[in-house]
């Protein structure tokens, strides 16, 4: 496995679970970690993987492919992707401003970026609902142009933009900070225009970080519940997200159906994240070549 550090004499050496160390306490700590993780994470997730099949493959398929479930999954994944893309663009601009420029209040803004990590999602949810409701300050402004945000898929997307905000900024920031000015200067000295420098020097270095931030924001947004339900209006087939549908199924005591939707969400997310990771690896390889 990847964790086993290959030693030069690896082939000749006897296989062992752990390398010898001068330090003690490995087995007690490893044992505790294994037991605690099994109880809190692994056994519960095993229930999610196994329990849907109680209703048979047909039952699972019906639970997952019903019109309402498909609409909810499409909304959760679609709005998460749009929100993550919005954050990929604006988050990179925020990161650029924070790394490259000096302006008053910069440190406060920098600390403030993490707000969605610290603010409870329900608090964000009712705050967003009050702003974008038809009588809220932004809701009224958009309403004047006949654009409704609250209780529509746009509202769902707005909540997911809030939730995903920090990820792209925090992914791109360190890369921009490490990007050597000398390389840019060299490009400029060799006669490249600023735009060409940006396109051929800066962009290839920050694009993988943007993708990382996009993936993290996307993964977080897909399963988001608290910040969304207040602004979404939760109309079945229109603005009902998949996590809410799970809760509705649970309230109907349809446990296997709820578990089936949960499992479908996890499988789709992991497949998409796997693809995004592969794309990331490809970008890094090309950037390095």
């Amino acid at each position: 496995m990847a964790g086993a550090v290959a030693s030069p004499a690896g082939a000749a050496k006897r296989w062992r679970f752990r390398e010898p160390s001068a330090l003690g306490g490995f087995w007690p700590s490893f044992g505790f970690v294994a037991v605690y993780m099994s109880l809190i994470v692994l056994i519960p997730l095993a229930a999610l993987v196994l329990r849907p099949w109680e209703i048979g493959i047909d039952g699972v398929w019906r639970a997952v492919s019903s019109e309402r479930t498909v609409a909810a999954l499409r909304l959760s994944f679609g709005a998460a992707a749009v929100a993550a893309a919005v954050n990929a663009v604006f988050g990179t601009i925020v990161a650029w401003a924070l790394v490259r420029y000096e302006f008053p209040g910069k440190r406060v803004v920098d600390a403030f970026v993490d707000l969605p990590f610290a603010l409870p999602t329900a608090v964000a949810g009712i705050a967003l609902a009050s702003i974008y409701a038809p009588n809220g300050i932004l809701g009224a402004a958009f309403g004047a142009h006949d654009i409704r945000i609250a209780y529509t898929p746009i509202g769902v997307m707005i909540a997911l933009v809030f939730i995903g905000f920090p990820f792209v900024v925090r992914a791109v920031q360190p890369v921009l900070a490490d990007l050597e000015r000398e390389v840019e200067e060299a490009a400029a000295t060799l006669g490249a225009s600023r735009w060409r420098t940006i396109a051929q020097v800066i962009w290839p270095s920050i694009a993988p970080a943007m993708l990382t931030g996009f993936s993290l924001a996307f993964a977080r947004a897909v399963g988001e519940y608290g910040s969304v339900i207040f602004i979404a209006g939760n109309l079945p087939m229109v603005s009902e997200i998949a996590p809410l549908l799970i809760i509705i199924r649970l309230e109907e005591f349809d446990y296997a159906g709820a578990a089936a939707i949960g499992l479908a969400m996890l499988v789709i997310s992991f497949a998409l994240l796997f693809a995004l990771n592969a794309l990331h690896a490809f970008m890094i390889r090309r950037g390095g070549a």
Binding site: A4, R18, F26, V33, V41, L115, V123, I126, I131, G223
Partner: protein, 284 residues
């Protein structure tokens, strides 16, 4: 300085600089600052008296108590786990180490609703272990133990994640020296490892606390929303909001928002201290 100045070939022209700063600030204000401001404005909409009266309610007080209780159980659990996991992962080489590290991050990509759902699948009356506990008169789902379990799962990675990268970077030299001089594992841990990571640990615990107090989705699934009994602060906010008691809902929410702001401020302070410490470590 103009864009054509030969001294600064990589400097963006002033118009571009200020355009980008304006766009960045506008985005931060609309996406982040406005909702935060709205919490306090709505909470104080009917004046201070109504604001403070919101806390003087049995249901509100019991929600605050329950939130503190749940936080006081799950944060220490995850702190002990985080320290132990970081010790095992960063101080030893063993098979499956990177797999274990990946597993620790797993709860981050699981929806909070799913985190609640899995415990319902295990411990409800129709769950795998539910009947076992029910026979012994122990309620887990729709009761406090379920809320603690769901909160623990959702906040599981935070302490470990803060510690692992730092301890990885610090290596095992200092611990090995202590061990060679005859210190046992506990002594090594408390006198060498712990002081080296105290700020990362502080921040990890703080973040874990903020998440534990604010957890909504997972807790919502397992709590059953019994007012005054199994309602945490975020759930109480939801109940009040759905009853159109907006001032009270936002008043409780403002307390949570205040705690979030304190978390961010402490992080900013810790990070500036950290930088000095890490720079000092680099010099030696």
């Amino acid at each position: 300085m103009t864009a054509r100045s030969p001294a600064a070939p990589t400097r963006d022209p002033a118009w571009l600089k200020w355009t980008l700063i304006t766009v960045a600030l506008a985005y931060v204000v609309v996406v982040l600052a406005l909702p935060l401001l709205a919490v306090f404005v709505e909470a104080l909409r009917k004046g201070e008296a109504a604001f403070f009266a919101s806390f003087n309610e049995p249901a509100a007080l019991s929600a605050i108590q329950l939130t503190l209780l749940v936080t006081a159980i799950s944060v220490p659990l995850n702190t002990v786990f985080g320290l132990t996991a970081a010790w095992a992962i960063t101080k030893f080489e063993f098979v499956g180490k990177s797999f274990l590290t990946t597993l620790i991050d797993l709860p981050l990509s699981v929806s909070p609703v799913i985190a609640g759902l899995v415990y319902v699948l295990l411990y409800s009356v129709h769950g795998w272990f539910g009947p076992f506990f029910a026979e012994r008169g122990i309620e887990i789902i729709f009761a406090v133990p379920g809320i603690v379990l769901a909160t623990t799962l959702v906040t599981f990675p935070y302490v470990a994640r803060e510690l692992i990268p730092l301890m990885q970077q610090q290596g095992t030299d200092e611990e090995a020296a202590a061990a060679t001089l005859g210190a046992g594992p506990w002594r090594t841990f408390f006198l060498v490892t712990l002081p080296n990571v105290k700020w990362a640990l502080t921040f990890g615990v703080l973040l874990c606390t903020a998440r534990a107090m604010g957890e909504f989705g997972a807790v919502s699934v397992v709590s059953g929303h019994i007012r005054g009994q199994t309602s945490t602060m975020p759930l109480h906010v939801e109940i009040l909001y759905n009853e159109y008691n907006f001032v009270a809902a936002f008043a409780i929410a403002s307390l949570l928002a205040l705690f979030a702001l304190v978390t961010l401020a402490v992080r900013a302070v810790l990070e500036s201290r950290f930088e000095a410490e890490l720079a000092a470590a680099d010099r030696t």
